[in-house]
């Protein structure tokens, strides 16, 4: 059974990859079909995982009279209301959208605002947290780019030497980000191929 799982997974991976490189109609069709199945399966997995969260975690807390059963009950009721509204009104109906935008968006915006403050505090504490050259360089960069992007140095656009010098500084983060992204791309390639050829299996069957 395990071997069959590996064969199916490897074959599906190879077909999708070949369909990406070779524009052969038969492979392309098969690839499209496999990707459609993957999207459907992912949706079903999402539904199962949400039901597991509701019954396996929150309902369990309510049943076992956990100290946070109040919060769990609110989650279960919210889930039921959203599910019923989604089924009867349809996810794209204005009523359902209103329900989502008037509840979820304000909550997430408030969380984002709180997070912004937390990150500012964390940035102020960075030298305390990282007492190394890396922490010091990061701190200097944060201060430098805050000043550069604040517009305080806008007058330098009329001084050719200074303008070129600061323009070079503006390119530094792009170069750094590209370096990191290249490393991540190579890591992703190796990790993806490891799974595709069956050397690494996050599925066990």
């Amino acid at each position: 059974m395990k071997i069959l799982n590996i064969i199916i997974a490897v074959a599906a991976g190879l077909i999708v990859l070949l369909g990406y490189f070779f524009r052969i109609p038969a492979i392309d069709d098969l690839r499209g079909q496999l990707l459609n199945w993957a999207v459907t399966l992912s949706g079903v997995a999402g539904l199962i995982a949400i039901l597991n969260l509701i019954f396996g975690v929150h309902w369990k807390r309510v049943k076992e009279k956990h100290e946070r059963r109040g919060a769990s009950l609110v989650i279960i009721i919210s889930f039921a209301v959203t599910l019923v509204a989604g089924i009867f009104l349809g996810p794209s109906s204005p009523g359902f959208q209103k329900l989502v935008t008037h509840v979820q968006v304000p909550i997430e915006s408030s969380l984002m605002a709180l997070l912004a403050i937390s990150l500012v505090v964390a940035s102020l504490k960075i030298l305390q947290r990282h007492r190394s050259w890396m922490g010091f360089v990061f701190f200097l960069c944060v201060v430098l780019f805050l000043i550069l992007n604040s517009g305080v140095l806008a007058f330098t656009s009329e001084i050719p030497v200074l303008r070129d010098f600061l323009s070079a500084f503006h390119h530094a983060p792009v170069a750094g980000a590209r370096g990191i992204l290249l490393g991540i791309a190579l890591g992703s390639l190796a990790a993806g191929i490891r799974v595709m050829i069956g050397s690494d299996r996050p599925y066990n069957g």
Partner: protein, 250 residues
């Protein structure tokens, strides 16, 4: 088929061939792997050991990448890390707990925990509810993961996968509950957040080295070697390109 398609296909073939060759026993014996020290991962191993000693759990959270997205390789690495951490903590009666922000990965995490329980003969401690989706949106996921961390009493917290700015909630608040937090992500935003909010983190491609550093598996070590070779090739190509451009030949 364009020239870029051919180059891409050859790169994929070369990478696959490299992983297979470097995984072989002969090559491994002839050229043993040399690891440079990554202090954050060394501290993670120590923290997992301490968790086993004091009978607390390890919490692994896999981020919010979708199973059908291209950004999910970091989460696949997270699953490998979960497998290795599960094996490292097999002596404990408290198996790791895993939260994720995607249904597909939540099911895979259950599968990994089950596989660890079978391999380490600790089936009596296996609980399918130890791997679950903590929230379907980024913020609900982060808050659910924090709740799981607090609830489970985990002293070691590992964030590995694809995160956004919500990672700030996880690392910022995790320190109140966990004694050790390792943060790793393929996202530039999350890496910047980790730098500001976490003591132990890995940058860039070091994320892909975590499973190889946690447990000796030929495929992981082979893929690190292939990554190194590809990095030298890409670096060389960039240098030659820059040189040719400076000389006006490109």
């Amino acid at each position: 088929m364009t020239a870029w398609d051919v180059i891409g296909f050859l790169l994929v073939l070369a990478t696959a061939a490299g992983i297979i060759i470097f995984s072989s026993k002969q090559v491994r014996g002839k050229y043993p792997a040399l690891f440079r020290k990554i202090p954050a991962i060394t501290r993670l191993k120590r923290a997992v050991g301490l968790s086993v000693e004091d009978g607390s759990r390890v919490h692994v959270t896999l981020g919010k990448a979708d199973l059908t997205e291209a950004a999910n390789t970091s989460t696949l690495v997270g699953l490998s890390a979960l497998h290795s951490i599960g094996q490292l903590s097999a002596n404990s009666d408290q198996p790791p707990i895993c939260t994720s922000g995607d249904g597909g990965f939540a099911l895979l995490s259950k599968d990994v925990l089950r596989a660890v329980a079978m391999e380490t003969n600790t089936r009596e401690y296996y609980d399918p509810d130890l791997g679950y989706l903590s929230g379907a949106t980024p913020f609900s996921y982060a808050l659910g993961a924090l709740d799981a961390l607090e609830e489970s009493g985990a002293k070691t917290n590992v964030l590995i996968g694809n995160f956004g700015v919500e990672a700030g909630w996880l690392t910022g608040n995790a320190e109140k509950h966990a004694q050790f937090t390792l943060a790793a992500s393929d996202s530039l935003v999350a890496q910047a957040v980790f730098m500001a909010t976490s003591q132990d983190f890995v940058i860039g491609e070091e994320l892909y080295a975590v499973p190889a550093y946690l447990a000796y598996r030929p495929a992981h070590i082979a893929s690190l070697r292939v990554q190194d070779i590809l990095r030298f090739l890409v670096g060389g190509a960039l240098l030659i390109g820059a040189l040719l451009k400076s000389l006006g030949l490109l």
